[in-house]
């Protein structure tokens, strides 16, 4: 029920608000409307028990001294989410066609599509932002000693995430298919080839043959937009599960309280 704004009556003349319990006990449609959100959440929770998991994830104890450096992991995750969202919309225009279509579709997005230049720019610059953030986050966990027992496994998952982020950068660089993309990829694939014994086979695998060929671009595209993002998303899930399970580390400059009495009082 819409309400008119209250007239400017002096406080002494105003009718007092109803006391709690004065109502006739029946919920009005207005009450139902006000609680619609709660009922929906309750309905889902009754059938899934998800609220326990959400509380477990979000209402964790964090050590004293937690500071801004602890946000670098989440910042990396948001950079990844931004890449995922902008990437999906770029994929609606992109054609992995090496005989001119790829370059043309990117040119079309940049020059003609509404906000195309902006979204492509977000994806392009965001990729560098993500790589920088991954390294800062890794530096944080390294310098805070957060890789030590019992968090070694989370460090290892992090290393795989770092490698996958690099794979994203490498495969995405080819997609505009201009001169820079083409030659950078030739050089990058050949660097893979300089690994002894397996290197030559690895570069054949990347190109889908002995020369840069008709399938190289679509291979890179499939790896870039389906294979690796899926792996990254799954591994971020495992990474965050371990963060919630093990708790975060206190900064290294915090010393344990030596006095047993005080230690009890503080706990």
């Amino acid at each position: 029920m819409p309400k008119l704004p209250a007239p400017p009556v002096p406080a002494a003349l105003k009718a007092p608000p109803p006391r709690p319990g004065d109502g006739n006990g029946k919920a009005t449609p207005l009450d139902h409307a006000a609680e619609a959100g709660i009922s929906v959440v309750d309905w889902v929770d009754e059938r899934t028990s998800l609220s326990g998991a959400a509380r477990w994830m979000m209402f964790r104890k964090v050590p004293k001294g937690t500071n801004w450096f602890y946000t670098l992991g989440s910042a990396t995750m948001f950079a990844f989410l931004s890449q995922a969202v902008t990437g999906v919309f770029l994929a609606m225009f992109y054609k992995p066609d090496p005989s001119g279509g790829a370059y043309e579709s990117i040119r079309h997005v940049t020059n003609e599509v509404f906000l195309g230049q902006f979204v492509r720019g977000m994806h392009k610059w965001g990729s560098s932002v993500m790589v920088i953030l991954v390294f800062l986050h890794m530096g944080r966990t390294f310098f805070f000693g957060a890789y030590k027992y019992p968090r070694e496994l989370n460090w290892l998952i992090g290393v795989v995430l770092l490698i996958l982020t690099m794979v994203m950068s490498f495969t995405g660089y080819l997609l505009p298919f201009d001169q820079r993309a083409y030659w950078a990829t030739i050089v990058g694939v050949n660097i893979n080839g300089t690994g002894p014994l397996l290197g030559p086979y690895l570069s054949d695998f990347l190109r889908g043959g002995p020369e840069f060929g008709a399938v190289t671009l679509s291979r890179f595209y499939a790896i870039h937009m389906m294979l690796v993002p899926g792996l990254i998303a799954a591994l971020i899930g495992a990474h965050l599960y371990l963060v919630a399970k093990l708790g975060t580390t206190a900064p290294p400059w915090l010393k344990a309280e030596k006095n047993p009495e005080l230690r009890k009082a503080k706990a």
């Binding site: 005989s99 050089v187 660097i191 002894p196 030559p200 054949d204």
Partner: protein, 220 residues
């Protein structure tokens, strides 16, 4: 739970008083069911994973066919200077499939390798042996020069400076009806002996030829 590791008085289920045991039965039905379920799961997973994997790595083992391509009439190519010719390495992908090859007539006073029917004309690739950037023949300096990391090669394609690990690759050539034709690529070591084509960055002198083996996709 699997009862594989449990110590039993007897292997026979009937001795162990398992209800409904058959005579001579040694595998419990629970273990049998567990085993078949795991096996069925493994077969189901393998039936899509193995074909997909084979499909993905197939190109490593498939040899790509090669065609001879005409470069130009024999009198187009002098024996002391290179003429650039554009050939198609990979058909069907437009500009991206083309490459420049530098061609000259064999000159017995400088080309000391044994003459045969496939090197009467010397065809040198423009792909740098360091990491694959396009080298350019600079006539005045009599050098191939790479724009990427400063690789420099002499008239025969041998490295004289910079990071490349071997001489520039060459192509087989032949003459048909007065026209020079360009065939498959091959690599050379620092003595200009022929090897199956390698990718840039892979040395083939000494132990290099074994560390960087020739690949089934391009072996000739």
């Amino acid at each position: 739970m699997s009862d594989k590791h449990r110590k039993h008085a007897s292997r026979y289920t009937s001795d162990r008083k398992i209800p409904g045991a058959f005579e001579g039965e040694t595998v419990t039905r629970r273990r049998f069911m567990t085993g078949t379920t795991h096996a069925a799961g493994a077969i189901a997973a393998a039936s899509f994973a193995l074909p997909a994997l084979g499909f993905a790595i197939g190109p490593i083992f498939k040899e790509t066919p090669h065609k001879w391509e005409t470069a130009g009439p024999t009198d187009m190519f002098p024996d002391n200077n290179y003429i650039p010719v554009v050939i198609t390495l990979t058909p069907g992908i437009g500009e991206a499939g083309k490459t420049t090859v530098y061609v000259r007539k064999r000159n017995p006073s400088i080309d000391l390798e044994k003459p045969d029917s496939l090197n009467q004309y010397i065809a040198i690739t423009s792909r740098c042996a360091h990491l694959g950037c396009p080298v350019r023949w600079v006539d005045a300096a009599e050098r191939f020069i790479c724009p990427c990391h400063g690789g420099v090669y002499d008239l025969l394609g041998r490295r004289v400076g910079g990071p490349p690990v071997r001489p520039l690759d060459r192509f087989y050539t032949r003459v048909v009806d007065g026209f020079v034709q360009i065939g498959a690529r091959y690599s050379v070591n620092s003595e200009l002996q022929r090897f199956s084509p390698r990718d840039p960055g892979e040395p083939i002198d000494g132990i290099g030829q074994y560390l960087y083996p020739s690949r089934p996709s391009i072996r000739r």
